[in-house]
Amino acid sequence: MSEAESNVALRHTPLHAMHRRFGARMVPFAGYDMPVQYVPGVLKEHLHTRSAAGLFDVSHMGQIALRPRSGRIEDAARALEAFVPADVLGLGTGRQRYTLFTNATGGVLDDLMVSNLGDHFLLVVNAARKQADEAHLRERLSESCVVEALTERALIALQGPRAEEALAELAPDVRAMRFMDVRATSVMGEPCVISRSGYTGEDGFEIGIAGSAAEVLCETLLRHAAVAPIGLGARDSLRLEAGLCLYGCDLDETTTPVEAALEWTIPTVRRAGGARAGGFAGADAILQQLAHGAPRRRVGLRPEGRAPVRCGAELYATEGDATAIGRVTSGGFGVSLNAPIAMAYVPAAHVAADTRLFAEVRGRQLPIVVCPMPFVPTRYKRSP
């Protein structure tokens, strides 16, 4: 047994006291003291989210508002399109989209959600990247937009098949929302922004609300029989089963959107021949890969045995090979599947489903099979 401890001063979210009161085990994550699990533990919390509703504190994530100086949302959309390979101009009011900040070589600086709230865009970015993202936007976009980091805001995710039922008791209008809808509304008299999205593969919502109002909202939601607090441990196992990327593991500045199997985030209008083709950082490299393919690709993997294959494990094409062909970027235990699962980057020749590879775990090469993602079917509410 071994363990490392750090004594770095950690930041607290507005829900920190609540986590402690619920007996959460706290761990450092992206500079914050965050709940990795509550009393029931990761396995029960994971399964609770899949069967009822899980409440997650994700206030460590960055929330950034982009307001057009001209007052015209199209101006902010055009400005933002220089940073992301998405159709921001075509994103309607009340809609949200998943996209990527790219760098000059086509790598990914961060992955994010962009919402059109009518008079401004709201961006939700990764905790570990929020300062960099904000600086990046402020430096290059200040001429056309006011960039405002919403540092006093909490972000609460309510995820699972009974999330709608629980949230609708406080905000009945959420029933009318479908997957990737977003609206500025109010809950218990507090203004908030609710999106119908999340990071678990389940139906659910994310609620941005003043930090000072977050605890009362959470306490109220938790009084619903279906709702339980869920820690970051289960958040990670849930997102892995859903095949969703974790920035810093599955995505970084060296992985392109095409390599990451995220080309679906790049619409025709931004591709070669489209009305607004290119025009984002790294467009040359990314459009080239869209046309001709990438040398490697992110794939799902299922170990044949029971042993989890974790981040960093080297992959080999044939048993006994000395030269690795790829590396696992996320790996662990799929709780709903009751089996280990992983994601990795492998060369294009090895990406077909059912391709058998070997992963090195504690000096042994274990068979592992390429498989489609998500590992667990997603249950987004795509139609009302």
Binding site: M1, V42, G233, D236
Partner: protein, 120 residues
């Protein structure tokens, strides 16, 4: 009487055979276990060598041989049901038994009082 290591293994002596597991403190820190890998019977380990692996949803941790010796039995029940280590870490959740090469190494282990002091 159990003996302990600073790496959170416990050990119970019966003649020259030690039963080894992880402490209640360790299982609590690790959280729900989902995989246990045990050594083969007959394998030899020096004191402090990685002899088994226990894995939670999130992480893998090595279990070190508290003393040197030969593995004479392993607990297949925890391989089939890793949660047994969480539920009964010093009982049915034991990991392996080893025949000591050098019983003098037992003096390097912590007693309950010293181990408690370490985890408080």
């Amino acid at each position: 009487m159990l003996k302990y290591t600073k790496d959170h293994e416990w050990l119970r002596m019966d003649g020259d055979v030690a039963t080894v597991g992880i402490t209640p403190y360790a299982q609590e820190k690790l959280g729900d276990l989902v995989y246990v890998e045990l050594p083969g019977v007959g394998a030899m380990f020096a004191a402090g060598a990685a002899a088994a692996t226990v894995e939670s949803v999130k992480a893998a941790s090595e279990v070190y041989a508290p003393v040197g010796g030969e593995i004479v039995a392993v607990n297949d029940k925890v391989v089939a049901e890793p949660g047994l280590v969480n539920a009964e870490p010093t009982g049915n959740g034991w990991l392996f038994k080893m025949k000591l090469s050098n019983p003098a190494e037992l003096t390097t282990l912590l007693d309950e009082f010293a181990y408690k002091a370490l985890t408080e």
